[in-house]
Symmetry: C2
Subunit: 229 residues, 2 copies
Amino acid sequence: TISMRGITKVFATDEMETHALRGIDLAIDTGDFVSICGPSGCGKSTLLSLLGLLDMPTSGSYQIEGHEVSGLSLSEAAYIRNEKIGFIFQSFNLIDELTVFDNIALPLRYRRSSIPKAEIDARVQACLQKVDMTHRSGHRPNQLSGGQQQRIAIARALVGNPALLLVDEPTGNLDSKNGDAVMEMLCELNRKGTTLCMVTHDPRYADMAGRKLHLLDGRILDADGAPLQ
Amino acid sequence: TISMRGITKVFATDEMETHALRGIDLAIDTGDFVSICGPSGCGKSTLLSLLGLLDMPTSGSYQIEGHEVSGLSLSEAAYIRNEKIGFIFQSFNLIDELTVFDNIALPLRYRRSSIPKAEIDARVQACLQKVDMTHRSGHRPNQLSGGQQQRIAIARALVGNPALLLVDEPTGNLDSKNGDAVMEMLCELNRKGTTLCMVTHDPRYADMAGRKLHLLDGRILDADGAPLQ
Ligand SMILES: Nc1ncnc2c1ncn2[C@@H]1O[C@H](COP(=O)(O)OP(=O)(O)OP(=O)(O)O)[C@@H](O)[C@H]1O
Ligand SMILES: Nc1ncnc2c1ncn2[C@@H]1O[C@H](COP(=O)(O)OP(=O)(O)OP(=O)(O)O)[C@@H](O)[C@H]1O
Ligand SMILES: [Mg+2]
Ligand SMILES: [Mg+2]
């Protein structure tokens, strides 16, 4: 169970402040599937990065299983993230110097509890198969099409069997057949117990979630479209 | 008028060859609006990069206004591209070290025929307004949301008033309202005479084109779905 109360995020640049999140209250239970929609620039990726401990809020409380995590050090945050959270980034964040295989293996190789090489290789192969990219495992990300890169980013987020999967626009570069295949895989994971929080512009995919949140200007809207705060 | 005959593109990596395009015949007249659809990895971005002289074919003929361009030197290709072609990339290709304003101004500053600073500034401002991003012109791309970055990439492609506009998935990161606004702008440019060739996974937007091409495994399909070659 994760819970946010009064979460704000302000980005300060030289001459202005951008209030990306203006007071978010949010509770997600284990096994939930929540989708987040809203116009470009309204705070979706920012909210996901706070949920994923990639960044810290400006104010407010963020608790995971009853523990306050909004004040964690970067290394403590990184440990929790690596063990429990999978993240599919809007711009993929693949490492060009590494092969596809090594990109997917990286989260497992980072783990403090050292995983045997044979197990890492087996898990990477399984994820490559899930996204139908085994034939390119020796190539580099910049040798792949946009949609192929997106599928590698997805495979990397899954390889650690995360308890919480945060997904930012997973189908933006995919045709509907590949997009449907990805959504089917995500729904399957959710059925097996993975908590899933997904940002998407596609209303068809947003509707697959158990609960749909709408964001506007850094706030969550209630069912009538009025800001909840 | 641009025309491709027998165009192939092979990417060679150490142990394998990827046949990205396997014989493309294609004619686009001035003022046409052509959309290109097809599954992930089928060759759409590759085709667009050849059309935009960002890369050269492995074999085949590519003519622009009757001139063979498939054998041009990189600097000759760069000159034509800078003067006549606008390109919106699937992964934006914005320059993180430059402000939003300077990113959009760059194609004009590169022109051999030197454009007065006042005119450059006016044209950049006009493009910023078209994509509703004037308020962020002093920021860097990595301070923007995914959809905001996409809008800056669009503004940069338009600032040179290109005769040919090549567009790779312009709405992948945009909500439907922003996506519709972008499509309206592209249709408007086409009505005023800009030749438009657009890759998209969105069937609603593909249908706005005067002609729809479907790609599969590096080939164009005819109306019954059979490869044209
Ligand atoms: N530099 C490269 N080296 C090797 N293979 C490449 C390179 N660039 C593209 N390819 C391969 O060529 C094929 C076509 O790629 P392309 O980017 O044109 O696909 P696409 O239709 O745009 O896909 P998407 O819808 O996923 O963006 C893919 O299999 C891709 O992996
Ligand atoms: N590092 C940063 N510095 C300054 N402003 C930022 C930074 N990151 C994000 N922002 C701003 O915060 C706001 C919310 O950004 P966010 O990326 O969360 O939007 P989004 O809802 O994901 O949009 P999109 O649908 O376009 O991806 C935007 O106005 C964005 O420009
Ligand atoms: Mg975003
Ligand atoms: Mg592509």
